[in-house]
């Protein structure tokens, strides 16, 4: 038990719970256990540790890869089988029969545990599968227990009535102290990683290995990252990346390891900027030992700039749109699609025709417009339009006269492919309907590159 708790820190309560449920070999196992808790709270780790410690026969099934129930059944059977044989199992009934056969042959009443990781995926399969597993023990003659591991709560599994309720176990999020404790355990690997990447003098090495330095860093790190992210794995990754940067000035002898305020001043902007890269996992692994044949100066410089570029790209759609390269007419088609999506067809005539006649502004209309001003078309989201309308607007906004060629029509399909326009890929002759799914910022940036004023043609801005 002690050993187990060292292996899985900060989960004493849950470990105890699991032990109480499973621990006594001579007792019957509970029928089913339901474990929930958000991501990276150590659910799978706990279960696996406990089962290994108890050395029960168990099968772990990752439900995400089970797109057909057949895979689940076969995994279970082949996992329980001692020697490798080909198993065939198509239905639940086959599974029950197979389990019973196994019981007679080799298992007897030894405890067996089935672990369903990411059990929320079971909901996508047939409705009865999950309920069948919940009462698997009633169906077969085994001392068997199903454990469901998921990040959803039990209530979101909508069962019909008559389901045997499982025993529920909740894994709470780690709090700040616990996170600190857990990441701190990794100090050795961090240091090792650091030493691998940099060449460090022995003197400084001693400095770096001091746990206080790392503790200080972690405090600073968590103060920034604790709010947006509780995912332990991600936090570990980010900590590793940032610790390198934290230590950089120490290695270069610019800041002494004891000067905490200076180090904090050095790291806080870095932490803030890397907050934006959370979860993105860009590999900044520099091209390791560039082979002597090719030494392009530009390829080396790209990864450095790139991080910044990506950051910009994510934060502002404008640079994103400008980095986008599209053929000339495709740009116009995209603009036309946007206009078609965000203008009502009633206004087309007014917007796109030269002699549309004067529209009298009636007081009523003005009032009505003022009233709905909070629901501008541009903010309401795109509306569906037909191919004909798209082409009509396209020709209206394009100054030069070009024929309606197959190349042009192919561009529409390309835009759909690139997920700039949503629509059916197969061409329906009468009613091909599309929807533009890029935002105003993006469109105005694209329009800028071809010298086109979008605002002029949007009814909302009239």
């Amino acid at each position: 038990m002690e050993e187990l708790q060292n292996k899985v820190p900060c989960r004493e309560e849950q470990l105890n719970g699991l032990f109480n449920l499973l621990g006594d070999g001579d007792e019957c196992l509970p029928c089913s256990i339901f474990i929930s808790g958000s991501m990276a709270t150590g659910k799978t780790l706990c279960i696996n540790a406990v089962l290994r410690c108890l050395s029960y026969k168990h099968v772990v099934i990752d439900c995400i890869e089970c797109y057909t129930p057949k895979i689940i059944f076969e995994t279970i059977l082949s996992g329980l089988e001692d020697e490798e044989i080909e198993v065939k199992c198509e239905t639940m009934m086959d599974l029950v029969n197979g389990l019973n056969r196994l019981q007679e042959a080799q298992l007897g009443y030894n405890p067996i545990v089935l672990v369903f990781d990411r059990a929320e995926r079971l909901r996508n399969l047939d409705a009865n599968i999950m309920s069948a597993f919940l009462k698997l023990r009633e169906l077969c003659n085994l001392n068997i227990c199903c454990i469901f591991v998921t990040h959803l709560i039990y209530e979101s599994f909508n069962f019909r009535r008559g389901v045997r309720e499982p025993i529920k176990l909740y894994f709470s999020n780690y709090n700040k102290e616990e996170l600190f404790k857990i990441i701190f355990l990794q100090q050795k690997t961090f240091i090792h990683h650091l030493l691998v990447t940099y060449e460090v003098d022995n003197e400084i090495k001693g400095e770096l290995e001091k746990p206080e330095l790392f503790a200080n860093f972690l405090n600073a790190f968590l103060s920034v990252f604790y709010r947006p992210c509780r995912d332990l794995i991600e936090l570990q990754h980010m900590a590793c990346v940032n610790f390198m940067k934290y230590c950089e000035p120490i290695i270069k002898n610019e800041i002494s390891a004891m000067d905490l305020t200076k180090l904090w001043r050095h790291i806080s902007p870095i932490l803030k900027s890397s907050l934006e890269l959370l979860y993105l996992r860009l590999s900044d692994a520099k091209a390791v030992k560039p082979s002597p044949g090719k030494e392009n100066s530009d390829t080396d410089s790209i990864p450095h700039n790139f991080e910044n570029m990506l950051k910009e790209e994510l934060t502002s759609t404008k640079t994103f749109a400008q980095s986008f390269e599209l053929p000339y007419y495709a740009k116009f088609l995209l603009i036309a699609a946007y206009l078609a999506s965000y203008n009502s067809p009633m206004e087309d005539k007014r917007l796109f025709m030269k002699n549309h006649g004067k529209q009298r502004k009636r007081l009523q209309q003005v009032k009505a417009k003022a009233k709905i001003s909070e629901k501008l078309n541009t903010q309401l989201g795109p509306k569906v339009f037909t191919l004909h309308r798209l082409l009509a607007i396209f020709y209206a906004i394009l100054e030069e006269k070009i024929g309606l060629t197959s190349n042009l029509l192919a561009q529409i399909a390309t835009l759909v492919e690139l997920k700039l326009i949503a629509g059916s890929k197969e061409i329906d002759l009468d009613t091909a309907k599309y929807k533009c799914i890029v935002g105003y910022d993006f469109i105005s940036a694209v329009a800028q590159t071809v010298g086109f004023n979008v605002r002029k043609y949007l009814y909302d801005f009239m």
């Binding site: 390269e325 599209l326 042009l408 997920k419 009468d430």
Partner: protein, 720 residues
């Protein structure tokens, strides 16, 4: 590239080039082509040319991809070593930003697979979005390819003692578990194989990221991440738009499983420029596109599709069009073969050459006796032809060189009146005599104000180009000079093009360079004598500022032309002279039709399909396609009874508004068919009604009308 070497290459490819196959459609037709045209000289030349171009293209492909692909491959190689990441279930993945032109990607990815197979691992799977509509298909396809790709390779690998499981897995059995078992059996059981440096990674390539269903990919990534600790798997994504597409379509818990490294590939515009400049706009490529045709093709590229493959196919089409069925065009070949081919020409062929438009101005230059001789004596004509074509090659040689020189000088000028790239300048130059355009004159005017530093730099660049051109030619030199001596006696020549031209150009430029560089010191002499010698290049930038100051002073005092300015203006006028000699339009050259392809309208019609236009012409003017004598119409709106029913109905429906009353339409229809009958009876013929109904049904089928629900006797128009 060496011209002689290129010929041998072309011929070499000729023998075995077609085994590889260019496209499925071509392949199936190849035997027919071969049989029909094998004997024709024009076909042989065409094939030689095309093979040569293809060879060049492949070289270029390799060159331009290699850097990128090597980076990717290095990354894949290295990714296996990074153990710490894989323990957490993080998948190393490479992201290739490929640009929007989808058709070009295919070759890129096949090249990538080849390299990976050769250098890293035999286990590569490439899954297209069409093959993977659901997670089931995706996993099955991937696993199947990984397992069977290896067995296919194992056949070559005799010493591999681990005998592959002979029973092939069925597709439905290909699950990740099966893959795991297979991988373990392959890499762990043979304990002898400890010499293997590492577990070989499994590479999964997803070339078209955008068209995948997001949720499918998310699931796939999660599944793979579960197995990464057991098998080293590397993902390669091909992303057409930008990296953020990747991040936008994956939620946090998925994207945190990916360790993404991004690789940029060339933008397709750059690549196209490269293809055009290195392959088609050179003197080594005998087939030339006229400026108009060239512009058309690049327009298609820039405005519509950004597809280099498409561009190359269009050029291929132009070549076929150019060569097809005409023995004249067999002369469109390399210089060395020219003589031989001319000798092979029949009298008929020669006659058709005499009828070329550009022969006439050439004829007028000759004196009377030569004229007669040219017409009567085939052998004499052959010789003259050979000579002229040879001169034409010389002309091309100096033309393209001048083109590049012009590009060097003009590139950095403000406003870009002539364009920035070689292809833009080419369209201008080949369309007309560029030196007479105002754009060119503006450019020269601007050159007169260029600073010394820039001037020196661009002259140096120009010299580089000239040197590279001279290197190319020098081995051919003996071949070149001997024929010119042969028949220079009785034809009036102005042989100042070709190599000699280039050589003299080089000498001139060198002297100008020296003068301009030295001019600097001369100007300083005017005001104060500076002892230090700043003729060398390193000091030039500093000198520029000095020069500027001095020039400023000079303007304040009195505009005395400095030495540099004088040299500069002399240089610019020399450039003008030189370009007007070198950049004559190809149309002024005799026999240019043989090398130059000009039939733009035909190409436009055939390359850019316009389905609606075709339907409209067919319906409103059926003569265009039927070629019958009965339906000749005075104008496109008029109708006669001899028109096919569908056309008639179509024309009548064009006169209507949004909704068409069927009865009225039928009336009109009947009136045209039977103009001389009573109003009431016309439409009562069952035959008329039948024909009308059928025509309407056909129009509906073509998508011009559809039935209208509110008024049952009306139909709605769908086109305008």
């Amino acid at each position: 590239m060496d011209t002689t070497a290129s010929v041998s290459k072309g011929v070499f490819l000729f023998t075995n080039g077609f085994k590889k196959g260019k496209g499925i459609k071509k392949k199936s037709e190849q035997p027919l082509f071969e049989k029909m045209f094998m004997k024709e000289p024009w076909y042989e030349t065409y094939k030689q040319n095309w093979n040569y171009i293809e060879q060049q293209l492949q070289d270029l492909h390799h060159k331009s991809y290699s850097v990128l692909l090597n980076n990717v491959v290095d990354y894949i190689k290295y990714s296996g070593i990074n153990e710490t990441a894989t323990l957490e279930g993080v998948i190393p993945s490479a992201t290739l930003l490929t640009g929007v032109n989808q058709p070009d990607h295919v070759s890129q990815f096949t090249a990538l697979i080849d390299i990976i197979r050769d250098e890293v691992t035999p286990h590569v799977a490439l899954v297209n979005s069409q093959d993977a509509p659901s997670i089931k298909h995706l996993v099955e396809n991937t696993v199947w390819q990984l397992i069977n790709g290896k067995t296919a390779l194992e056949n070559y690998d005799e010493e591999d003692e681990h005998i592959s499981p002979t029973k092939k897995l069925r597709k439905s059995q290909c699950t990740m578990k099966a893959l795991k078992n297979w991988y373990e059996s392959r890499h762990q059981s043979p304990t002898k194989k400890k010499t293997l440096p590492l577990k070989k990674p499994l590479v999964i390539i997803i070339p078209d990221f955008e068209s995948f269903n997001c949720s499918v990919l998310q699931d796939f990534v999660m599944i793979v991440s579960g197995y990464v600790s057991i098998m080293p798997i590397v993902l390669v994504f091909g992303v057409a738009t930008s990296v953020s597409a990747l991040h936008n379509s994956f939620p946090y818990h998925v994207s945190s499983k990916l360790l993404i490294k991004v690789f940029h590939s060339h933008s397709s515009v750059v690549y196209m420029n490269q293809v055009l400049e290195d392959i088609f706009l050179t003197h080594t490529c005998p087939f030339q596109l006229s400026g108009k045709a060239f512009e058309l093709l690049t327009d298609v590229f820039l405005f519509y599709d950004f597809s280099v493959t498409g561009l190359i196919q269009s050029i291929k089409y132009c070549m076929m069009e150019h060569f097809y069925g005409d023995n004249l065009q067999s002369l469109c070949c390399d210089r060395e073969q020219l003589e031989e081919l001319i000798m092979k020409l029949s009298a008929e062929d020669l006659e058709s050459i005499r009828q070329l438009m550009s022969f006439r101005p050439f004829l007028e230059q000759q004196d009377c006796r030569t004229k007669i001789k040219l017409f009567e004596d085939d052998n004499f004509f052959r010789e003259a032809l050979y000579h002229e074509l040879d001169r034409h090659h010389d002309y091309l040689y100096s033309f393209y060189m001048c083109l590049r020189l012009l590009c060097v000088f003009v590139k950095d000028l403000p406003k870009n009146t002539l364009g920035k790239t070689v292809r833009e300048i080419y369209t201008k130059c080949s369309a007309e005599c560029v030196t007479e355009t105002t754009a060119f004159k503006d450019c020269m005017q601007l050159l007169k104000f260029q600073s010394q530093f820039k001037m020196v730099e661009s002259i140096k660049n120009a010299l580089k180009i000239i040197n590279s051109y001279l290197q190319v030619v020098s081995p051919v030199k003996p071949l070149l000079t001997s024929p010119t001596k042969n028949n220079s006696n009785n034809l009036s020549l102005n042989d100042d093009l070709g190599q000699n031209f280039v050589k003299s150009l080089r000498v001139h430029l060198l002297t100008f360079l020296r003068q301009i560089e030295n001019a600097n010191t001369e100007t300083t002499v005017l005001t104060n004598v500076s002892p230090e010698a700043d003729g060398n290049d390193e000091n030039v930038p500093g000198n520029r500022y000095k020069l500027k100051e001095k020039l400023l002073k000079a303007t304040r005092v009195d505009r005395v032309q400095s030495e540099f300015e004088m040299v500069r203006s002399r240089f610019v006028s020399y450039l003008e002279d030189m370009f007007s000699k070198g950049l004559q339009s190809a149309r002024t050259q005799p026999f240019h039709e043989i090398l130059l392809f000009t039939d733009v309208s035909n190409v436009r019609k055939n390359i850019i399909g316009s389905p609606r236009g075709a339907v409209h012409t067919a319906l409103s003017n059926p003569v265009h396609y039927l070629q019958c004598s009965c339906c000749q119409l005075p104008s496109s709106d008029s109708v006669t009874e001899s028109l096919p029913d569908v056309c008639l109905a179509y024309k009548l429906h064009r006169e209507c508004g949004m909704y068409i009353n069927l009865y009225d339409w039928l009336q009109a229809f009947a009136t045209v068919l039977h103009p001389d009958e009573e109003d009431d009876q016309r439409h009562q013929h069952p035959l008329t009604q039948l024909r009308f109904t059928r025509a309407v049904a056909e129009l509906q089928f073509l998508g011009f009308i559809k039935s209208y629900k509110r008024k049952t006797d009306h139909v709605m128009r769908l086109t305008w």
